[in-house]
């Protein structure tokens, strides 16, 4: 299975990301061990220059990771034809359950790398770079995840057994002839809708309050609501948003909407959700950092922008997911 072009590209890309991250964390460890802001020795100067290399490496790694998630889903979608009974990416992922783990690790990596890049940008704008140590410690922690990502992808793709005509008899009767279940069971629709709209409502309310008021507790609240909103929204996509998009009550796949048949509508939907979650979490995540005077200034100047970006992301997500519900001819509830 490894010799599928998409799989080759994914594995190559992941290998490069791993190399980039290993280099970055090696530099990171050097910086961690020998960083001394008060010193003006040549070594410190060299380390300060190396921080630029590390942040560039990380920016690239994050970029690769974003494309890698898209390519992974694309590839899973492309290879579903090789498995009996698989209808879309869900089927390919079910064909070797490690696939779901890959998706999970990639999701975690995406958030982790995005946070790192944002914090790094904040830190680099200050004079005294107070976050150097926590930043590089986090970097050393992210690297094993990247390695795990590569390993799991390898396990997933090498473990796939496409159904091919064998010489003795048709593959029908070879092992694993049972069709792969390709439906994801969703939550019951009514409850899911109730939960989804109440959490979206509270997200919007807390977000608006955050824009108006400066209380720190609101930021923490927004952080919690964002995390909850993310998981509930994923559930909602599977449970009722996708049937509305596909106009089919039994079609729950969260990946099909990324395909050309549905005008790639899934991309803005998931990007909106990702942005809303990420930027919703940022203000809360930065609260503990306000104890550094230099960072506080930067956070204050950035926060408003983050909140508005989160709002924009949420509106995109909400518009796309609810459009069919409000204006489409399809009705999920019977008469």
């Amino acid at each position: 299975m490894i010799l599928h072009p998409g799989i080759l590209a994914l594995l190559c890309g992941s290998l490069i990301t791993v190399l980039v991250m290993l280099l970055a964390s090696w530099l990171g460890v050097q910086i961690l061990l020998r960083w001394d802001m008060s010193s003006s020795s040549e070594e410190q100067l060299l380390l300060e220059r190396k921080t630029w290399l590390v942040s560039t490496l990380l920016n690239y790694a994050l970029g690769f990771q974003i494309f890698s998630v898209v390519l992974f889903i694309f590839t899973a979608e492309d290879i579903h034809r090789l498995f009996v009974g698989a209808m879309c990416a869900t089927g390919s992922l079910n064909a070797n359950l490690v696939g779901w783990l890959v998706l999970l690790v990639k999701g975690i990596l995406l958030f982790a790398a995005a946070f790192w890049v944002v914090l790094n940008r904040l830190d680099q704008r200050t004079e005294d770079c107070p976050l150097v140590r926590p930043k590089y410690l986090a970097l050393v922690l992210i690297t094993p995840l990247v390695v795990l990502d590569l390993y799991l992808q390898w396990r997933y793709f090498s473990g796939l057994q496409p159904e091919v005509i064998t010489s003795c008899c048709g593959s029908l009767f070879s092992a694993g002839g049972d069709s792969v279940a390709s439906d994801l069971a969703g939550m019951p629709v009514r409850q899911a809708m109730l939960l989804f709209f109440s959490i979206i409502g509270s997200y919007l309310v807390v977000l608006s309050f955050c824009i108006v008021f400066k209380a720190s507790v609101l930021r923490h609240l927004l952080f919690i609501v964002s995390v909850l909103m993310f998981f509930v929204s994923i559930g909602a996509v599977i449970s009722f948003i996708s049937p509305y998009i596909y106009q089919m009550p039994s079609h729950h796949c969260p990946f099909d909407m990324l395909q050309a048949n549905y005008s790639y509508i899934g991309y803005p939907l998931y990007v909106g959700l990702f942005v809303a979650t990420l930027y919703g979490m940022l203000p809360g995540l930065c609260q503990p950092l306000r104890k550094y005077a230099s960072l506080r200034r930067e956070i204050d100047s950035f926060e408003k922008r983050w909140l508005w970006v989160a709002m924009a992301g949420m509106l995109v997500f909400l518009t796309i997911s609810c459009w069919q519900m409000l204006f489409g001819s399809f009705k999920l509830f019977g008469y």
Partner: protein
């Protein structure tokens, strides 16, 4: 945003100032991308071609297996299978391969009453009697006859048999009929000296698509020496085969990619004194390391995207305008009588995405360190030379 655009503008003018160096890099890069792209486009087009011609293939074919090998199937099996509920019809097919020592190629000989596909005749008609035949384009080109001429083949007893050509085929896809010679079934049986009670395989039509798998199981159960093959399985096999082939080719071409990356690394490391001076001046007038890094990022992006577009165009022209002369022998298969290829230009977004990921990521990754080295240059150090 505006700031990044200004930096991009600066990058473009700085790239233009070093035209020849960048052009040579872009040429090599585009060539690498074109090579990889041709492999992807060609396999994708071949896959589409194969899938397209298989849509008219029968849903279920039953072969007989004897001693682990494909064998002729008794036509009596037809009755057993047609009694199974859900079967619409069972048709025995008579066909076989014929090696012609004159043109050194294999032909596919098909008996007319059993041919099921929808074939368009380019000219002429199908054979009416045992002395007539219709041939595919590839056969016509190899032997050089026209309608009304004779086709001479040697039958299994090594005696010459003459067939009058009544038609030349054209199909929606040439892959299907290129090496085809269509005869009347009785004539073909004579030609192969095949028993009346035997056929090459059986085509089973099924009413309900969902029952195909169950029916295949039943056939296997009732007639244990048979091998039912569904159309889906053939499609899977083609898919896997073409994926494997293009993957093989890509794995080989990755060597080219690696050598290109070494070149890119080298180019990026060996910056000229002039370029160093430029960066020194920039930093002296107040540019920060991050700005220079942004310039370098845009430089990498501009070069990769330009080469990518050029490379894709070149690959497209190579594959679809010229029929991929450099790759066809490697990817198509091992039949001697190749179909004349008029590949339908079929490029999907996925192929382009894979190609981009495969080529742009390594390039960007291997220019990070050199561009950082440039970016942290001290102005004072450069000015002194």
């Amino acid at each position: 945003m505006l700031r990044q655009l200004k930096i991009l503008e600066f990058t473009l003018s700085s790239l233009l100032r070093r035209k020849y160096k960048n052009l040579s890099l872009i040429t090599v890069y585009a060539f690498t991308i074109a090579t990889l792209g041709s492999v992807l486009f060609l396999t994708h087009a071949l896959k589409m071609e194969a899938t397209g011609s298989l849509t008219t293939a029968p849903e279920l074919v039953v072969q007989r297996v004897a001693a682990g090998r494909h064998d002729l199937i008794p036509t009596a099996y037809t009755e057993v299978i047609s009694k199974l509920p859900g079967v619409a019809s069972v048709t025995p097919r008579v066909w076989g391969y014929y090696y012609d020592s004159l043109i050194k190629a294999n032909l596919t000989l098909v008996g007319i009453s059993s041919y099921q596909g929808d074939l368009e005749l380019l000219e002429g008609r199908l054979p009416d009697n045992a002395e007539e035949c219709a041939i595919g384009r590839g056969v016509a080109i190899a032997f050089g006859p026209a309608i009304g001429d004779d086709l001479v083949l040697e039958d299994s007893g090594k005696s010459r048999t003459v067939f009058k050509i009544t038609g030349i085929f054209r199909a929606e896809s040439n892959l299907l009929t290129n090496d085809l010679v269509v005869l009347q079934e009785a004539a073909l049986r004579d030609f192969f000296s095949m028993d009346q009670k035997l056929a090459t395989d059986l085509v089973v039509q099924v009413h309900n698509q969902r029952e195909i798998k169950t029916l295949a199981k039943k056939i296997k159960y009732n007639l244990p020496d048979t091998r039912p093959i569904t159309r889906d399985e053939i499609l899977h096999t083609y898919d896997t085969l073409f994926n494997w082939r293009s993957g093989m080719m890509l794995a080989v071409a990755v060597a080219a990619l690696i050598s290109f990356c070494i070149l890119a690394w080298d180019k990026a490391t060996g910056i000229s004194a002039e370029e160093k001076q430029e960066i020194g001046v920039l930093k002296a007038i107040g540019w920060e390391t991050s700005d220079v890094l942004a310039v370098k990022f845009w430089e990498g992006t501009v070069i990769s995207l330009t080469s990518f577009v050029l490379g894709i165009l070149a690959a497209w022209i190579h594959v679809f305008a010229f029929g991929a002369p450099a790759l066809v022998p490697l990817l198509k298969g091992w039949s001697v009588l190749f179909p004349e290829f008029q590949l339908t230009p079929a490029v999907d977004f996925y192929q382009v995405f894979v190609l981009g990921f495969l080529t742009i990521v390594p390039y960007l990754a291997c220019t990070v360190i050199p561009s950082w080295k440039t970016a942290v240059t001290e102005p004072e150090y450069v000015m002194r030379g």
